[in-house]
């Protein structure tokens, strides 16, 4: 149980929690000042829980039921601009309805933290996970991190505030989790005490840019061709600094909470000596780890990498980790229509990382689990088997697709 501490108690209690519950606990513990809600499956559980905290007197914050996601995210952005710690969240098309606010929250450099309960983009309607929603902010100046357990959701939300609000960073952060598989599945988590959280997470201070009568600033005037490039560059410099801050934050997190996050950016599972490395994000890691264990038992040299931080992308670290292998299998719970080689988003990020590597492994893409379809242990074992035997030009495979696609590089896998 709890108590690996010296003076103050680090953990309050254990409880059964879903992924969204984990985030709700973190929002409460972070003493968030303002949160705005709007319903859409599957992220909503976090707002249900926070509303109940307010009703029970367990959490002191301004709670606004917005009139739409656009307003919801603008409320978060402007609360953050007056120096209040803000939380928002959404899923799928709701996240896209807020897109204008998402873009400006990033360019205004306001450290709002948002939960994205990943959901397929309508139409036709599908509640299940697909990573395309969160990925749409990948070029906008958001920090984006994927979590795969409820504990990791709690921890990462606290870390998200710590990184986002760092005076050298000041960028919004999206905590993404697989809809259904994590938003709605429960396991036992350890809930930290408020005292330990306040040791880890300092007060939010926007500094010179805060909107307050004592600090009469003008925020976001027209810059046009005069200053746009310099401001874009400043934002990018902040993203660069974010990387170091992420390393620091995880180190501090480990020391305060006794956690064991070795590499903040990705977890490696049995990658030592692996000839084939499978890489994916989110809850696919459960099936992938078991698949790797089984294949290892049979003597196959296989490993798995669970990518956590998608922005900033751990370019150097991944290049080092992946170029040791002969083959890399990318599991994409997303799709990039009309992109290079008709592969997924993660696939092309990984290929781009490996372009400059001395040892270039064969990279094969697997479009899998779209719209919440299960990616089973057997599926991952099949992914490894195809990666080993497929020809160099068979780059993209759709896992468990019902119909055979003729032509191109799409090859059907048996379910």
């Amino acid at each position: 149980m709890a108590a690996t501490m010296k003076q103050t108690k680090v953990y309050d209690r254990e409880e059964l929690a879903s992924g969204t519950d984990g985030v709700a606990q973190a929002v409460r513990l972070a003493d968030v000042d303002v949160f705005a809600a709007y319903p859409i499956r599957p992220y909503t559980g976090v707002m249900d829980r926070l509303a109940k905290f307010i009703a029970d007197g367990k959490f002191d914050a301004e709670y606004i039921i917005a009139d739409g996601e656009h307003s919801q995210f603008e409320i978060g952005k402007h609360a953050s601009s007056v120096g209040a710690r803000a939380f928002v969240g959404s899923s799928g098309t709701g996240w896209l309805y807020a897109m204008e606010a998402l873009a400006t929250t990033a360019t205004d450099r306001l450290p709002v933290v948002a939960l994205v309960g990943n959901r397929a983009l309508d139409d036709p309607g599908a509640f299940g996970v697909e990573h395309n929603d969160a990925m749409l902010v990948r070029d906008l100046g958001w920090l984006v991190v994927w979590v795969s357990t409820a504990q990791e959701a709690l921890d990462t939300t606290l870390i998200a505030y710590r990184v986002a609000e760092d005076p050298t960073v000041l960028m919004p952060c999206a905590v993404a989790m697989d809809g259904g598989y994590l938003t709605h599945s429960e396991h036992i988590i350890r809930v930290p005490t408020k005292e330990s959280v306040s040791k880890f997470l300092p007060r939010y201070n926007l500094g010179k840019r805060v909107m307050h009568p004592d600090n009469p600033v003008s925020i976001a005037p027209q810059i046009n061709e005069d200053w746009c490039m310099e401001i874009r560059r400043q934002n990018w410099e902040a993203a660069k600094r974010a990387k170091e801050v992420i390393y620091k934050a995880y180190k501090e997190f480990n020391s305060v909470f006794g956690s064991n996050y070795t590499n903040p950016f990705f977890d490696e599972h049995m990658t030592s000596g692996a000839e084939t490395i499978v890489i994916g994000m989110g809850t696919v890691s459960s099936a992938a780890k078991v698949a790797v264990n089984r294949l290892r038992e049979k003597g196959e040299k296989v490993g798995f990498i669970k990518l956590r931080w998608f922005r900033p992308f751990p370019t150097e670290e991944l290049r080092k980790a992946l170029s040791r292998a002969k083959r890399v299998a990318v599991i994409d719970r997303d799709f990039a229509h009309g992109g290079p080689d008709d592969g997924g988003v993660l696939y092309n990020e990984v290929r781009s990382v490996l372009f400059d590597a001395k040892n270039k492994p064969k990279v094969v893409d697997f479009i899998a689990g779209l719209g919440g379809r299960e990616i089973s242990i057997e599926d991952v074992m099949e992914v490894v088997s195809i990666t080993k035997k497929c020809k160099a030009d068979e780059r993209v495979h759709w896992v468990g697709l019902r119909e055979r696609k003729t032509g191109g590089t799409h090859v059907r896998m048996k379910r």
Binding site: A66, Q72, E74, H78, A79, E100, P213, S218, I219, W227
Partner: protein, 334 residues
């Protein structure tokens, strides 16, 4: 429902300007903007912040009062000002008001009255941001939304909005041999719509920056003093968009009011008071107002007559002229 007396008391409690001589000289919207000569929307800016004073935070939705006002490093704003998105006026006010309330309650900043004001144009406030402003008026926060209405998207080269008057020429509604009148919509009646539908909203007013003198500034003062979510809708003559010489801005504002086309009133806790009662005055023919503007030069007699009929109908037939069209647009089924 609040009693008449209570409403009256609150109405009278604001320290109002009684003469132009007791209007503060200090400016909080100063030089640095690039608005046109004769721009009434710029006056709307200057006067609201004069009335609200330095303990104020402001967001401005995208529009001419963003683009023409705030060029990087030459801001006219002496109070904190931030840009917000075209349709985010209401939400921006909620965000700031909620943030300040939480920070004050938790003792993170000094507890004091800080005025939270958003201004949005007719495109941003009356069209795209209407839902967000509705959301803001449903809260219990102290915030004021000002819809500054120059009857077009004046920043993007004068395009028609749903608050552009019937028949007006804009770049989206030109006149031509096949279609003399392109813009066939009657002006959306935003202020009463918001007043009727939002039980939390404590104060709604219409105003014109220049006329009657001090009326607009006093309405800002009242809105801020009464507190809660409040809304002011201003009509701002625009030389560029309405096509007239800048020297006539003040005159056109007056004519819009005196012709009865733009009713001036305030609604405090459900009670409507006219601040210029066109029922008791002899109304100037609407034609006098329309003829002075280039955007109506394609009008023929029947267009002027239509305008006059609509205005007469509003003042003679509506249950509450300008506000509640029960006998005008809406009628009880027999």
């Amino acid at each position: 429902m609040v009693s008449t007396q209570q409403a009256k008391k609150e109405f009278e409690s604001a320290k109002l300007y009684t003469s132009v001589h007791n209007i503060d000289l200090e400016e909080f919207y100063s030089s640095g903007h690039r608005t046109c000569q004769g721009c009434e929307s710029a006056l709307v800016m200057r006067d609201f912040v004069k009335a609200s004073g330095p303990r104020t935070v402001v967001t401005g939705a995208t529009g001419c009062m963003y683009v023409a006002n705030t060029s990087y490093m030459t801001t006219p704003w002496v109070v904190p000002w931030m840009h917000t998105q075209l349709g985010a006026g209401g939400a921006s006010a909620i965000g700031m008001a909620a943030g300040l309330r939480a920070l004050m309650r938790k003792g993170k900043i000094k507890n004091e009255k800080i005025n939270v004001i958003n201004f949005s144009g007719d495109l941003g406030g009356g069209d795209m941001g209407l839902g967000g402003i509705s959301g803001a008026l449903q809260t219990d926060y102290d915030l004021l939304v000002i819809i500054y209405d120059n009857e077009s998207a004046a920043n993007t080269d004068i395009q028609a909005t749903n608050l552009t008057p019937y028949g007006a020429q804009t770049t989206f509604s030109p006149t031509g041999p096949a279609k003399r009148i392109m813009h066939t919509k009657w002006k959306k009646n935003v202020a009463p719509m918001m007043a009727v539908g939002h039980p939390n909203c404590k104060y709604v007013a219409t105003a014109c920056a220049t006329w009657p003198p001090m009326d607009y500034m006093n309405k800002v003062k009242k809105a801020l003093d009464i507190g809660g979510p409040t809304l002011i809708h201003t009509l701002d003559p625009c030389p560029k968009g309405w096509d007239y010489h800048p020297r006539y801005s003040g005159e056109l504002g007056q004519l819009a009011i005196k012709s009865g086309l733009f009713p001036l009133y305030e609604i405090i806790k459900g009670e409507v008071r006219y601040t210029y009662d066109a029922r008791k005055q002899k109304r100037v023919p609407v034609r006098e107002y329309l003829e002075k503007q280039g955007r109506f030069t394609h009008f023929i007699d029947e267009d002027y007559e239509l305008f006059q009929t609509k205005v007469d109908e509003m003042w003679n037939d509506w249950e509450i002229p300008g506000v509640a069209p029960v006998k005008g647009i809406l009628k009880l089924a027999q």
